[in-house]
Symmetry: C2
């Protein structure tokens, strides 16, 4: 087997990611075989997920204080690594055999060697947004029937699932997103109680008052910044905020200042940051549940599929401009 197309970081990203920050390269060398005596798998990558968190690994000077999980950055010239679905084409590990479909961290390339495949799961579902939505909503926010839930990026990979989980729980759930198409998707496909285009709301305070006259019990925050600041003034007593992502801040030189934190005290609000990989132990049971829901049609999942590694860079850049409708993924190969 000769040749391996790869998406490589061209330079550390500053500000908004540009297509030129990445390049496609094709190695002409033989794909290496699994070394004798090691327990590894060789993967053919099928689908790759464009996850916003990867942005943090693309910069040189990102936060690297104790306690972060983003210590090791991509370096210029290195192949990007992210979550994907792959097929095992060679295996010396007892848990995997040729033909297995697996999900886990892999390279943004056609073929990837995984020396320690213990963290791969034998499934066919790109699951990071699912875990993030499930853990963030159920484990962190402890929703109760009848509570009011607000979700930013309502049609995104995570948001669309939170909306559906909230409906399953009997909550009133409103989402915000950036286009009419995505507002309709949230309402018609994902069953949000209501949804609005935040770009058309010049007075966010008025919009939140309109949709939540009694206030918000749970805010599932995917955007941070100004939206989070405004939402804090609409939280009900004992409200909970799941800090899943703050995508509005990722490309700013200096983050926006949040001025309404004091309101957390009289309202007894909690904000909880979390990382879905801390919940690695529940992946199998979540995947089982998700696949059951998807099969029986009680859960929908909309993906925006870019074709081929050639389109990987533009697809990745696009998520920061809201160009995707649903979870942005890249199809590297179909089988």
């Amino acid at each position: 087997m000769v040749g391996n197309k790869q998406v490589v970081l061209n330079n550390y990203v500053q500000g908004w990611p540009k297509e030129g920050d990445f390049r496609l390269q094709c190695t002409e060398t033989e794909i290496e075989s699994i070394p004798n005596g090691s327990e590894a798998v060789l993967l053919k990558n099928l689908y790759l997920a464009c996850d916003p968190y990867m942005r943090h690994r693309m910069c040189d000077n990102h936060i690297s204080q104790p306690g972060t999980i983003f210590k090791s950055s991509f370096t210029p010239g290195s192949v990007l690594v992210g979550y994907g679905v792959s097929r095992v084409i060679q295996s010396t590990h007892p848990d995997f055999k040729e033909g297995d479909h697996v999900w886990g961290l892999t390279g943004w390339e056609e073929y990837t060697m995984i020396p320690n495949p213990e963290k791969l799961f034998k499934i066919t579902y790109t699951g990071v947004p699912g875990i993030a939505a499930h853990v963030g909503f159920f484990n962190l926010c402890s929703p109760k029937e009848g509570e009011t839930v607000y979700v930013s990026t309502a049609s995104g990979g995570v948001g669309q699932l939170v909306g559906q989980f909230a409906k399953m729980m009997g909550c009133y759930v409103v989402g915000s997103t950036s286009t009419k198409e995505k507002v309709d998707l949230a309402k018609d496909k994902f069953g949000f109680s209501d949804a609005f285009n935040y770009k058309e709301e010049h007075d966010l305070n008025a919009a939140l008052t309109r949709y939540f006259p009694e206030g918000i019990d749970i805010y599932f925050d995917n955007v941070g910044g100004r939206m989070l600041d405004e939402v804090l003034l609409h939280m009900k007593a004992h409200g909970r905020v799941a800090a899943c992502g703050m995508i509005s801040q990722y490309n700013l030189e200096e983050p926006e200042g949040i001025r309404n934190l004091f309101s957390m005290i009289p309202r007894r609000v909690e904000i909880k940051g979390y990382i879905e990989t801390d919940f690695h132990h529940i992946y199998p049971q979540y995947h089982e549940l998700a696949i059951k829901y998807l099969k029986e049609g009680s859960l929908d999942y909309v993906e925006d599929v870019a074709e081929g590694l050639e389109n990987a860079a533009s697809a990745y850049v696009g998520i920061f401009h809201g160009r995707n409708v649903g979870k942005q993924i890249i199809r590297v190969a179909s089988e």
Copy 2:
């Protein structure tokens, strides 16, 4: 009985409280007796607590969104209300008799009629800081032996107790405060592992790195603002922040912007706002514990006592400038 000295709000407070925002008045009318048929108590007030949260009740335009507990403000001309220790001088309520010492909300005046005394406790200890410290530290932060704890306003009414509770738990606890005298108090009297004067630290980041080279597990936040923002970058993974107060922000026209919230996500940090009155049910058991500790000498409590209602305004104003050493209280009468 004739005459009742009272501390009255002169006008809504804007910015930093000034002595002129309050006035002392003496009513020359007979103190009213308990109306026939009602179950009430008449109190002689002994000690009043200068609590920073009262500042929120002194302004006209403070946050009054759903979910706050500060809905009813003091109005100009009304007597201030706060926590204090009083002696019952008349009672028609079956739970209280003449001579009982009680703790609870009372007026900033010599005598106060309490029509519904169910929320008074029969004890002799000004307990809001104690409850705030106990609940915030133990219930919200779930401290474990060996963890690192940082406390701002280390010698204040709440901070001095958090420091001592942290030592009881076997934690490494560092406090910050605003004078050398209070730094010494924190170390020598309250047993903080270390303490520093934040006013002498021009580089807060360097100071926090010096005291917490491995990061902070628990931040007990009494000040908010810039200190909170800086501390966020020093939290360890799974760190917890108890948002007890944000006194640095109470008198600002616009709160400072917090820019480091994103770090909560990779570090999985929680910030929890709370109000000690939500834990009303544990007051009796806390008071029992506190009195036991105080009697056996395992807990110290330093108070800064202003003499008489004549000095109430200056004592109250002083807490926002750090003029108090220990919890600021006002002695209205000794017995």
